[in-house]
Amino acid sequence: MTDSAPTVAPSIGIAALHDLRDHRKHRRMGDVEWFDLAYRVYIVAIFGADAFLWLSSLIGDDPLSAPSADEVLRNGPAVMGMVAVLVFMSGLRSGAQGGPLALETADVVHVMLAPVDRAHALRRPMVQRVRSVLFLGIALGALAGQLGAQRLPGSPGAWAAGGALYGVTLATLWAGGALLAHGVRLPLWAATTIGAVAIAWQGAALVWGIPGVADLDGGLALWGWRQRPIELLATAFAVGLLVAGIALAGRTSLEALNRRSALVSQLRFAVTMQDLRTVILLRRQLNHENTRRRPWVQLRRPGRWRVWRRGWYGLLRFPAVRLLRMGVTAVVSGVALGVMATGTTAALLVGMFALYLLGLEVLEPLSQEIDHNDRTDQLPIERGRLLLQHIAAPLAALVPFGLLAGGAAALTIAVTDGPPAPGAFAAVSILAVPVTLAGACGSIVSVVKDAPDPVSVANQEAYLPPEVAGFGTAIRTIWPLVVSTLGVLTTLVARAAHTAEPDDASAVIGGAVRGALAAALLLVTTLVWVQRRDRVRAWYRRFVDEGKSYTKQNWS
């Protein structure tokens, strides 16, 4: 027996680790299908270019008027600084919740528990993570800069470079904040508090014109137009955060790594498989977002409407952080639609996406039913009817969020330059709830379409030639977003009425009523689809089978 633990020189373990990683890297490179990879890059480039051109067309290329340009110059740093603050807060919270690193589970068990220098062992995954985040920041920043160049003074090259600088600064801010928060074991409440203080400060800068905490960061976004060297201090600060975070690599929590490793690998697989539901569930687990053990309100007397009550059992167990996020999403949708109402049509996309996300959150009772289809199949009720009943409680729960979105839209219209259009506030009050429900129709479609099918996907795609089977997959992915977009487009009816008769409040109100009716029609159509979907698919399958047997009989 010996009373001293075995000792291993740190260099031996590290040498073996390097050999392990190099060996695996060479093997992975050898397994890569280069043609397949080139095809994926080609597809991403095609769709990316199309999306960029479409955004570009929405923004237009008429130079801003002098007053508008002055306003951008005056308020731009504060607005873009708010983006920086939100990014920083996101990084802090990520680090406080165990991020931003995620290793393979095998690395956590075999490497992190081996006698190797953990800081050294984590260096490569850390660099890889930071590198990908920085690349994303540069790419998005440069693209956004290009869009800005269409209407603001300055050359496209300068705007692309300035945008890239802004993007990489924000990315560095995120990564540095996350690594530092993790390294110092910053509690989540502290990360949130720091972020909230920064948001409040920057918000005050926006409203009252005082210097904001992130004005230097925001100023970088305008470097395509004018350059102020002092704003590079923001970049230096972000780099300093990153260096400090990397220096604390040895303090990385193994418990956090272990927990995240399994979840992140599942998350990546779910993203690859376009399994949105699994992505949502795993994101909640990564963020420690657990359903409440006790509901906010205990439902007492049992009633007749069992499915309605079941929905409220689930909704009343939403954790506070989810309710807060839904509230913020509703406000974002309201602000976006308010901005759209005052002329910026591109804001429709933001509003649509926010309502789509809000719908996915509130449809949890329906999603749960679809997750557990083995129980559904045993119930003595037609599935379409049952799913329809599961939508009732979530739609009712959406109403207060719709009102919140309406309030945000009204406030946005009130604070934009110039007097609000006659009847604008009345139009908002008419449209708020119907548009919110219509925007969530895409979420309903997204959730229900993932329900197991009487006609399986494999069988469906057997009826399609291979050339269009992939296209069908793309359509199925985009279709829910199209439905949400249709829901949000109903607001344009009121805007069009105002454009046609700018001084007539009743025209705007009439347009709003028509828009609300269109939104209601979309909602009803979606609900009918939910109820009838299985019957229609079963009919389609019978139709195809009959056709096949007829062909076989008459042509064999």
Binding site: S4, A5, P6, V8, P10, G13, L20
Partner: protein, 226 residues
């Protein structure tokens, strides 16, 4: 001489749910311990904290006087999980090579071959463990756990999925480790294993309810939940 494993007022909470109540215990070097308890009693939580995979909510753990999870602790402690994990692109032989080398064992081949032979895995050395059945994955994890030097061995539910030859091989490996003076802590539902150890620890709902010789224990009562 410091204890092989020692905990001081150790607790663990998951949110507001307690997983382990304050626990203080000392396991001297060379002792063999069986850890039993009902599902959810805290066995895996305790072992993972000793291995350094979980952070205590309060209290601390030492391995030969060094903090759990520290460099010296990792050099001396081997952890066999109930859910084996492998790289999806390394063969079993490659796993053995790299784990052994990361623990400073350069002449690892003889020991690896011996382990594979004992566990009946010699013919599978070039296969990917991620493709193995449950039982084979368990055997593969055992071989990886034993290929490196250790002074403390923590094992969580090692017998699940093993066939009778696998169980015999594992028990033989435990005996070999015991002869070499390794401190052994095994969490298990196999009550027959308890007869082979000198000390029994029983957890119930996160609390230690028994610490003593196995012969004096009412095993059926100890594995009941509260």
């Amino acid at each position: 001489m410091s204890d092989a494993l020692a905990t001081y007022e150790l607790t663990k909470h998951y949110g507001d749910a307690p997983a382990l109540e304050p626990l203080s215990l000392q396991i001297p070097e060379g002792q063999h311990v069986a850890l039993i308890g009902h599902n959810g009693s805290g066995k895996t939580t305790l072992l993972k904290m000793c291995a350094g995979l979980l952070e205590p909510s309060t209290g601390h753990i030492t391995v030969f006087g060094h903090k759990a999870g520290s460099y010296p602790a990792r050099a001396s402690l081997s952890w066999l999980s109930d859910t084996p994990t492998f790289y999806d692109d390394l063969s079993l032989w490659e796993h053995l090579e790299y784990v052994a080398r990361m623990h400073g064992v350069e002449d690892w081949q003889p020991r690896a071959e011996e382990l594979l032979g004992e566990l009946g895995l010699a013919s599978r050395r070039d296969d990917l463990p991620v493709t193995f059945s449950r039982g084979l994955r368990q055997k593969a994890a055992i071989s990886i756990g034993f290929v490196r030097p250790m002074h403390v061995l923590l094992v969580d539910e090692p017998f699940v999925g093993l066939d009778s030859s696998g169980k015999q091989a594992l028990l033989s490996l435990f005996d070999q480790a015991a002869s070499a003076g390794v401190t052994l802590v095994v969490a298990t539902h196999e009550l027959s294993f308890v007869e082979r150890v000198g000390r029994l620890l029983a957890l119930r709902d996160g609390a230690l309810v028994y610490d003593g010789p196995p012969a004096d224990a009412d095993l059926d009562d100890l594995v009941q939940s509260g």
